[in-house]
């Protein structure tokens, strides 16, 4: 019995017990449902063991939507708690756990997964490849991310949630001030999913550099692929820093070292320093692919080519470098002198220049274009003014001396939500709606989608604009309550109202998926949006091998030129296509990683050793495994092409 005491929740509440029951019932329902409908074999063959970039992309997106629900529920709980003064819905400890979970889930397990999911699905299609460079590694990436996400998500019912903020600053995060296993969960969940992300980075750089269709020079790549390339470059250079910092934190907490302690030569400030050396590039890992998605959508629905392609590419390259040179602006108040703060103020403000160039390029793309206000376009058009407000308040925060006023207030919270929600969340929903027919062969309902957009946008304005004001009035972030005399009450109530609207918009979006799945017509054709780039040159939904004949590309808008200017995309005959085999090894290995992380969190050394040996065994097995893939033969390809309505010329 003593063994199980460690799994108890240190700070329980009826809501957590209710969640435990709900989780248990859901798991039973899923298992029972799969057994009843005899879907285990289908699930295993078609999804769990797949190495197909399209299916992996879809699994990323489904996981991201689940995490969006989890993080969104946390957000609504926080806004509810602060909606009136001296509220007792959550106590201080629970509030800490909720905002920590919200931050980590939204950044690492929602936004990253959504972005990587869209990259997985779209990038190989946009460059005319059959799959990513290393399909098996791609599956490992996904399952490691999933293992990390699940490890993090069970923390609040087994052993207690992390409660030191998503930034996890030391000394707060050390054993003395965070005695529960929560921060261990944080460390291991981020470590495991971080390995997956790093592998994705390497995989996509190799894919984009090596597997482009004949004729597609770097400067002829579609803009989303360009942003994916730069994003993955940032991932490869930034994530090792997080890996090392988290390892040092783990050693501090679990093996009594002194990296981030305040005594014995440790430096707690070093954590903040390393965290943000990863953390700031991380922001651009999220926003750059979003910029790519907007570039695709705005060009398509303005029916014009993207204005200033070269300056767009130049901007993202400059942003990627500058993103590594600004990290100190996250802690202007830590005690360094005016010289340092001035340097980092200037580098921070400099980022506004390339970002501004991009904003103007989008505006000029729309200039004199034939604009169609579809759902993806609405999100893109809504993004431009809202994101600009976020950018301008960012420049306000970048002024170091003024930042002493804003630091750690709700002003900052308003600012970064003002960039991330119109920047990343809008882009993800826009991209999902835009590429939905590519993934599933039918369109999402436009009318319901527009309702979702308006609820989202208006809800966003109500939720976050009041925070600018309360922040300037001195409401600190992460405070679980405030007094009535402070006068923050009415604006916080408004904020809660906005959060409610956003929750409704999420429900509308999910309902739209259900509604369209049931009622949308399936005969949308291969090019429902009259689009421009290469991913639309194949069938809807995409066959396993993507393109029956590898396309020959002459421009960055290959598909548009094929439609309008008579470029020939597909020359030659259909040949046998070599494809990778499915494998159950990635999911097994990720399962072992999950056990490894879980055992480490609770200091169960037997579990650590056994799962560690298992992981090594998987690696050894893979090294000696002989897997040459398989061929799809000409006859089979021709039959598939006929079924989709004839081969593409």
């Amino acid at each position: 019995m003593e063994f199980f005491e460690r799994f108890a929740i240190p700070h329980p509440s009826p809501m957590i017990y209710a969640s435990m029951v709900a989780i248990g019932l859901t798991v039973i329902a899923i298992i029972a449902g799969l057994t009843y409908f005899k879907k285990w074999g289908y699930l295993w063959r078609e999804w769990l063991t797949t190495v197909d970039h399209k299916k992996i992309g879809i699994m990323y997106i489904i996981s991201a939507l689940l995490m969006l629900f989890r993080g969104g529920a946390d957000a609504v709980m926080m806004r509810l708690q602060t909606s009136v003064p001296d509220n007792t819905f959550l106590d201080a400890q629970h509030y800490n756990e909720v905002f920590t979970t919200h931050g980590v889930v939204m950044i690492i397990f929602m936004a990253m997964a959504f972005i990587i999911g869209l990259m997985n699905f779209i990038v190989p299609l946009q460059i005319g490849a059959r799959d990513v460079a290393f399909p098996r590694l791609n599956a490992i990436s996904f399952w490691l991310y999933f293992a990390g996400a699940m490890l993090f998500n069970i923390s609040f019912v087994i052993g207690g949630s992390p409660d030191a903020g998503w930034t996890n600053y030391y000394p707060l995060a050390n054993n003395e001030f965070s005695p529960s296993v929560g921060v261990n969960y944080y460390n291991w969940a981020l470590q495991i999913s971080g390995i997956g992300t790093l592998i994705t980075g390497i995989n996509f750089i190799a894919t984009i550099l090596k597997m482009r269709a004949p004729g597609m020079k770097l400067m002829k790549m579609p803009m989303f692929t360009w942003t994916a390339l730069i994003t993955n470059l940032i991932i490869v250079f930034a994530f090792p820093v997080l890996t090392v910092a988290i390892l040092m934190g783990t050693l501090d907490r679990q093996f009594a070292t002194n990296f981030f302690t305040t005594t014995a030569g440790g430096s707690d400030m070093m954590w903040a320093n390393l965290f943000w050396f990863w953390g700031h590039p991380e922001v651009y890992i999220l926003i750059l692919p979003a910029f790519g998605i907007y570039s695709e959508i705005i060009a398509t629905f303005s029916q014009r080519n993207l204005y200033g392609y070269k300056s767009m590419v130049g901007s993202i390259v400059i942003i990627s470098t500058l993103s590594f040179l600004v990290w100190v602006h996250h802690f202007f108040t830590m005690g360094q002198g005016a010289l340092t703060n001035s340097i980092f103020s200037i580098t921070t403000m400099a980022i506004a220049v390339p970002t501004g160039i991009k904003i103007f390029n989008w505006l000029l793309t729309m200039w004199k274009g034939k604009i169609r206000f579809t759902v993806p376009m609405l999100y893109s058009v809504g993004f431009i003014p809202l994101f600009t407000i976020g950018g301008v308040t960012g420049v306000m925060l970048a002024m170091a001396s003024a930042d002493y006023q804003y630091h750690n207030t709700m002003f900052l919270v308003a600012h970064f939500h003002n960039t991330i929600i119109p920047g990343v969340v809008f882009a993800m929903i826009a991209g999902l709606t835009y590429w939905w027919p590519k993934m599933f062969g039918f369109m999402l309902n436009e009318k319901i989608g527009k309702w979702g957009f308006w609820f989202m946008t208006i809800g966003f304005c109500f939720a976050f604009f009041p925070m600018y004001i309360t922040g300037l009035d001195g409401q600190a972030r992460r405070m679980y309550t405030y007094s009535e005399a402070s006068g923050f009450g009415p604006l916080n109530m408004l904020s809660f109202f906005g959060a409610g609207l956003m929750a409704i918009s999420f429900i509308i979006i999910v309902y739209n998926i259900y509604y369209s799945f049931r009622y949308s017509p399936r005969n949308v054709g291969d090019d429902p949006w009259n689009a421009r780039s290469l991913e639309w040159a194949t069938h809807n939904p995409v066959p396993e091998y993507n393109f029956a004949i590898a396309p020959q590309v002459k421009s960055s808008e290959a598909f548009w030129d094929y439609k309008k200017n008579g470029h020939q995309l597909f020359k030659g005959d259909i040949k046998d296509i070599h494809m990778p085999n499915n494998s159950g090894q990635p999911i097994i290995m990720a399962g072992l990683f999950f056990i490894f992380g879980f055992s480490f969190v609770f200091y169960i050394w037997a579990g650590v050793i056994i799962s560690g040996i298992g992981i090594l065994a998987c690696l050894v097995y893979r090294s000696f495994e002989k897997d040459d893939g398989h061929h799809i033969h000409v006859q089979e390809i021709k039959e598939t092409e006929e079924k989709f309505g004839g081969a593409k010329k």
């Binding site: 550099l209 250079f237 320093n273 050396f277 590594f324 100190v328 830590m334 005690g335 360094q336 002198g337």
Partner: protein, 94 residues
């Protein structure tokens, strides 16, 4: 025979040994801390360059440009991290 003899690699190996000897001299000779560190830093970076170019064939394929630009980008970011951290946490800490 001349084509088969790896003269470039032999020269590189000799040069590499020479760099090691120079670096070792810091330990055996009596010199100031500043001089010692300068010699060590220079020999270390040249040594790394020799390894990349001669023994890891960094410049010999058509991926040359990608390899070198990634390498320099990495070095640049490492220097930014080290000197940025030094500036923030040591030199300019009040």
């Amino acid at each position: 025979m001349k084509e088969l003899f790896p003269i470039k690699q032999i020269n590189g190996f000799v040069f590499s040994l020479l760099l090691t000897v120079v670096a070792l001299s810091v330990y055996f000779m009596d010199m100031s801390y500043e001089w010692g560190m300068t010699i060590l830093l220079i020999t270390a970076f040249v040594q790394a360059g020799v390894q990349f170019v001669i023994f890891m064939h960094a410049g010999e394929t058509k991926d040359r440009d990608v390899i070198f630009s990634t390498l320099f980008y990495g070095v640049f970011l490492a220097l930014a991290a080290v000197f940025g951290s030094l500036l923030t946490l040591v030199w300019d800490m009040m």
